[in-house]
Amino acid sequence: MSATAVAPRLQVLRQRRLTVLLALLAAVFVAIVLSITIGSKSVPLPDAWHALTAPTGTENDIVIRSLRIPRTALGILAGIALGVAGALMQGHTRNPLADPGLLGVTQGAAFAMVSSIILLGASSLLAYIWFGLAGALVASVAVFALGMVGGRGGPTPVTLALAGTAVSALLYALTSAIVLLDEQAMDVFRFWQAGSIASRGSDVVWQVLPFIVVGLVLAMVNAPGLNALSLGEDVARSLGQNIARTRTVGIAAVTLLSGASVAACGSLAFVGLIVPHLVRPLSGTDHRWLLPYSGLVGAALLLLADVIGRVVAPPGELEVGVVLALLGAPFFVALVRRRKPVRL
């Protein structure tokens, strides 16, 4: 193909990418509006605007400012974090099934939380979150270290996945042993395990925000290196890539992103797993686009799932983790069946 034919095609591609980006931003915006206005008490749009701009302490103002906004903010943060983490993890492990559960992050957080209850008497949500975060970080570092031991070129997809499964199973067993001995730990664990962004409060949002921001920055820094790595380690090396550094930055980003969201919201299955599969047809394999798209789709998906959970079973609510699984799985199965899955 001649150079003159390539230039207009690049132009078209760039325009298409920007259009998709705008469409995804619009989708997230719609999801935010829905998340703020719909619930067990529906708030009309003008009232919502009133609560945001000039609150005077009406009932609607209080509902929106103290419940809906923190909940929506946490949904956005967790959705972005899990979407990006899933895309990064799938890129690094070259495993289309990779998600935060795989690397032991979820179970690491769960184990740290329940042991903090039984050993240290922790009893506030904020305390659980700090322990959960620490547990998530330690577990994923352990899995990666385990996958690397003895190897030269970094962990292979299979050893990493095996290491993740092993560490997850071990931590889950220890967690079960604790919750079987302690009723309070069981009560915290079962609600955390179902996955929810409800009644977390704005202090939780502020606690996890820095971790997620740093994680996102690292993820974007990692994107070009990951592109080179996906050509194979030998090609990447011949292109002058520092493979060890790219891997390290990637795993740091995954750990921060998924650790923070898992600690705050519990196990939210499927966001990290399914979002990159949804996004790849739109973005192609270039991680500089795949990652931001995945973040936006993740946020929209999480918020919409949460809204559905609020209206589907009145007067109660269905935890967002459950809705995500019920929504995500048929989609995922359809995706798998429609064509041969992308082999990374």
Partner: protein, 347 residues
């Protein structure tokens, strides 16, 4: 490689001496563990007490051995063997070391139905202690396991069966079951939740002869059938194209082997709950011990039985008088061993 040809009734296998040695060693270990399981418990007995008690029908030790310890130990060993065999078949077919009955929807499906049953019946009906415990839970587990597998298999089938697609679909369905299970756990009373947790951790507490029989029957029928299917399984690792060229009827052979794997796992889960890690780890351990290319079926089963028997011994005694669910011990034991294997294989 030391291998001997073995021919029985027109069929032939290449018997590898290393595999035979490992399997026999495993069997010896299993017998030793069973003997220990008879001796150790709240009432400690010497081996001669055990032997005497077994034949003295009127003694108290006879009751302890024949009604409490032996059926429990046998259930453990049989369930372990069935799960491991199931895992070995599935890992060979999916060509994926991470595949297990969990991927096929068996254990996760069973967990959902059992938790639903426990939560729905609640404490008002005596929770899991009444009729539900003896008949209801195994029946629910068996039904849930078979339904789960049917869902996964049905969704993964598309003009044939691709091992890769099977694993993907399995992951998806397992995630739904798991999350529904989590949700059910939040709905129930915390006491019922606790009882359900013991079952979904995989427990051998209070298992009797009624749990031994179905698992034993399943093994007696299915082990010979799966061994007959080994040869088509051996061919599977060369890929679909080669198999078609070799003339093995791939889809039929695979469907039958998967059916066997599902039945084994479902019966095992109905007896003792989803005992973690045995199905996943045993074939991998057997694979490395025998240094073969595929998880060896018979040897995997023996490894699974040994692993489960050892784990139950620990579960009964480690925190005595408190009994842990055996599934917690299998995971705590099995996981580091798998970690060790990964580590060693990287050097």
């Amino acid at each position: 490689m030391t291998a001997l040809p073995l021919r029985v009734a027109g069929l032939s296998w290449r018997v590898r001496l290393r595999g035979v040695a490992v399997t026999l060693t495993g069997l010896v270990l299993l017998v030793l563990l069973m003997a220990l399981n008879m001796r150790i418990g709240e009432l400690r007995m010497s081996l001669s007490d055990v032997v005497a008690g077994t034949f003295d029908v009127d003694s108290a030790t006879h009751f302890v051995i024949m009604e409490l310890r032996l059926p429990r130990a046998l259930t453990g060993a049989l369930v372990g063997a069935a799960l491991a065999l199931s895992g070995a078949i599935i890992q060979s077919i999916a060509r994926n070391p991470l595949a297990s009955p969990e991927i096929l929807g068996v254990t996760t499906g069973a967990s959902v139905t059992v938790v639903a049953g426990v939560v729905a019946s609640g404490s008002a009906y005596g929770g899991t202690s009444g009729l539900l415990a003896t008949l209801g839970i195994p029946a629910l587990a068996l039904a849930g396991g078979l339904i789960g597998a049917a869902v996964v298999y049905g969704l993964a089938w598309r003009r044939g069966l691709d091992g890769y697609r099977l694993v993907l679909v399995g992951i998806g369905v397992a995630a739904v079951f798991t999350n529904v299970k989590f949700w059910l756990l939040t709905v129930g009373d915390v006491n019922d939740t606790g009882r359900a947790m013991v079952w979904i951790s995989g427990s051998l507490n209070g298992r009797g002869w009624e749990h031994v029989t179905p698992t034993a029957l399943a093994l007696v029928v299915l082990v010979p059938l799966t061994l007959l299917g080994t040869r088509s399984l051996d061919a599977l690792r060369f890929g679909d194209d080669t198999i078609t060229a070799l003339g093995v009827r791939t889809n039929l052979a695979r469907a039958l082997m998967i059916l066997a794997a599902v039945l084994l796992a479902a019966v095992a889960t109905a007896s003792a709950g989803p005992i973690a890690f045995v199905a996943l780890a045993s074939p991998q351990i057997a694979l490395r011990l025998t240094r073969s290319a595929q998880p060896p079926l018979l040897c995997s089963a023996v490894v699974g039985a040994v692993l489960t028997a050892a784990a139950d011994l620990i579960a009964r005694t480690a925190f005595s008088p408190l009994e842990l669910p055996v599934g917690i011990v299998t995971a705590v034991l099995g996981a580091p061993y798998l970690i060790h294997l990964i580590w060693r294989s990287r050097k």
